[in-house]
């Protein structure tokens, strides 16, 4: 996983399988970067994710809470087609956290 500065925010490029085991290391690296930089937007880029169970939803929800503490927001972007059912089941589309297919979030002001 790489974490890059993207202007006003940071982007974490998640790769490989996200399950209960791998989510732990991802969340530790992301949280360390967030606490250091206090970005206004944290983007979680799922384009490199090959598999995800509900641990991925826990990962997004946990980062949502962390960013809310700093008054920032989370955006889950570039969701592969095979992960869409899991994302839909989570109800997070209703909270405008997950970027829908064919639509790109505007970068925050």
């Amino acid at each position: 996983m790489r974490i890059m500065d993207s202007g006003e925010g940071i982007t974490a490029y998640l790769t490989g399988d996200i399950d209960h085991h791998t989510a732990r290391a991802m969340r530790e690296s992301i949280d360390a970067a967030v606490q250091k930089k206090r970005p206004s937007v944290l983007r979680l880029d799922f384009s490199g994710v090959s598999f995800m169970d509900s641990s991925g939803i826990g990962l997004i929800m946990g980062r949502y809470r962390l960013m809310a503490l700093y008054g920032g927001m989370v955006k889950a972007v570039n969701i592969p087609a095979e992960l869409e059912r899991m994302m839909a089941l989570s109800g997070l589309y209703g909270l405008d956290i997950i970027e829908k297919r064919g639509e790109t979030f505007e970068t925050a002001k």
């Binding site: 399988d17 399950d19 209960h20 169970d53 826990g58 929800m61 095979e82 899991m86 089941l89």
Partner: protein
Amino acid sequence: MSLCFESRSTNESFARCAVAAFLTQLDPTIGELNDIKTVVSEAVTNCVVHAYKNTIGKIRIHVKVQNSLVTIKIRDTGCGIADIKKAMEPLFTTAPSEERAGLGFAVMQSFTDKVSVRSSVGKGTTVTFQKHLSCRVSNG
């Protein structure tokens, strides 16, 4: 096909990949295989996080194939579930510190055709899934 392994989180990946590898004989679609991997991952994670919380125990998986119907049983001899109905409610979790979303059973129900849970407190839990695959391979 039967598997028996320890409830270590590194085995979550092993379990779903082993079941998926066994089922390739049915030539499932990528989507079907992904569904099966997801539900196995959810059930095995439940064993690691809840059934054997803070301990290590054995997880047994049994997979049976009858024509296009796949039956997967995942069994532990851990703490058991006192209130199965409550445990299956979406967003209910007893492990918020582990960042569990409380979606495990909801995912299992959504990604398979049938889920049943049998549990006895102090003795363990068995989760059984059934799923029909499109079965593009003819047996002839």
